[in-house]
Amino acid sequence: MSASQPALSSATAIPGGHSAHAGAKPLTASQWGMLAFLLSEVAFFTTLIVVYISYLHRDRVGPTPRETLSLPLVIGTTICLLSSSVAIHLAGMALERQRQRLFCCWWALTIALGVAFLAGTIYEWHDLIEVHGLTIGRNLFGTTYYTLVGFHGLHVTIGVITMLIVLGLALGRRVTHANQIGVELVSWYWHFVDVVWVFVFSIVYLFGR
């Protein structure tokens, strides 16, 4: 550091990495970063969905979606995932009101609902593979179905792992009102994963059967 440069700690210095300037700024830099990341995720899932639709009902060999996909199970897992969005929202509100215990409860419930969704998917896939013989190589439906639903499930898994980390930090009393921005971004991601599922569910299980 040469002598001509005043030290960083001058009175006008703005501390921290996220030094968005004063005034009415609607979103912080981290929030914009998350939105940008989610935009790339939208592009990713849109590609998978477009491919799924373009191959729908093109198979000459079975099994078909109507023969294999079981609605009652998936409606159950869908309810789990959608209600987890409500739970994570309530967790965020609890944190905002500085009620740590309540936050941990809602947050743990969100994780449990996410795990329940994954368990349902595992059961469903086991059924598809063992009973119906539908694998990724069986036909185009298998190819596109496992890719689309699998990538969504991967995102749910990543979300559950991230939320477990946050829960660990929260139990160690390191998630507070002051750093709730990170918690908020995790919940944005989780809402996004839910919205993707609404599209996947509608296209694969409702209109695509």
Partner: protein
Amino acid sequence: MSLAVEPKVDSEIAAAKTEPVRSWPATLHDWVTTVDHKKIGLMYIGMAIFYLVVGGCEAMLIRWQLFYAHNNFLRPDTFNQLFTMHGTTMVFFMGMPILIGIGNYLVPLMIGARDMAFPRLNALGFWVTLFGGLLAYFSFAVGGAPAIGWFAYAPLTEPAFARGLGTEFWCLGLIVSGIGTITAAVNFVATIIGMRAPGMTITKIPFFAWTMLWTSVQILIAIPPLTAALVMVMLDRDFGAHFFDVQNGGSALLWQHLFWFFGHPEVYILILPVFGMITEVIPVFSRKVLFGYEFMAAATMAIAFISLGVWAHHMFCVGMSRMQDVWFAVASLLVSIPTGIKFFNWLATMYGGRIRMASPMLFACGFLSMFLIGGLTGIMLAAAPFDFQLSDSYFVVGHFHWVLIGGTLFGTFAGIHYWYPKVTGRMLSERLARWQFWLLYIGFFVTFGPMHISGFLGMPRRIYTYEPSRGWEFLNQLTTIGALIQAPSFAIFVWNVVWSYFKGRPAGDDPWDAWTLEWGTSSPPPSYNFASIPTVRSRRPLWDLKHPDDPDWKYE
């Protein structure tokens, strides 16, 4: 903010560069673990120049094979591997990294921030990009690079046609480096929107930062579909899926749509930041305010959006419906409107200015002349009936090299010559820069000009040899000679960069008498960029400081 213009003496620059003298493991550790946007930017640029040399050597081998008809220098399969890796390298491991690197170095400085929004994510992005490149090149070690062309059309990527593991490594390399590119784009969006200096409203943003913002948006929309498509290729090859497997109902055409939905925005990803650099260079060296800032800004947005709807002009010959042909031809021609706006604004900025032909301006003029020609052949190819005749011929090869070298590379060199004094505190040698420019300019014409003619004469791209009776031999020899003229130009550039780093004339903080914030801090900038965050009132904050009697903010 220091505005001292007196050049520092050598010892001071040396002191600023090396700080305390350190052992090389400590220095290496410093660079490997850094999260400073400037160091990361320089590592991106270093990576890009390394791959530029690698991709350039591949091009020289390709050109030597085509020097004579029936040449036996390379085997056909090796030739296919080389043009695949040449294209992949230049687009993914040279083109995008050098622009992201320059952006990384400059964007926080230009917008008055201390670093990017997510410094650690930034470091991750660089290392992931670098190792993605190494992963793709690892294919040479496992039985040969893929021989599928850089756009890897199905069914060439199916296991029956590409037997080795090369295609797997190629896919993995592009997936991994694509993740790095996306993290960089996320970082640019967050930084440019969320971390500008006080007073720098979105309409006062330096133009290069504006183009980086829209490039990032394009990256966020275009790269994920490529990632998804590459995953599908790997699922096909390694897990028995049938996405592009025609025998089991898959579609080879689908790959073309997915690839070009990435591939066409990609060429604008490679040119928009260069537009930004040119837009910074031309006003400074014409001593005039940029003409039509608002129109330039809107044109950048228009290009970013229109480019998402033109991809199938790469596929006219595949046999789409008439309606699709017309749509994609018209959409492609539409791009020429915002591009034309930019072009005329650059010319209007120069018109009546006191033009200084220093090396950055020289390369900017090279860019203007070349990009015009490349743009015009682009308009020719956007017309579907013309494309039916010349698709996949050397005319196309000539066209895209004309825009990527004449456009992206010349513009990038303009930027590098412009900002080198800021990065190192030393001036590049003007004499060497002029040799570099003229060798590149002449070599470029001799290389890629004849390609248009051999394309008209029917020479298809990607052939490893040709019949002497076709009349292509002389044109190919010209092309190879042109490549041989260009090669020393790159050597001179690397020599100039290294020599000037140690022996160049001290530059001072603001050698070009420029107007954007990066010239307001020292050269090289301290790790924290600005001792105190500057406040901005106009698009030319340094003009305001230098001319308090006649500041820009009175007129904007």
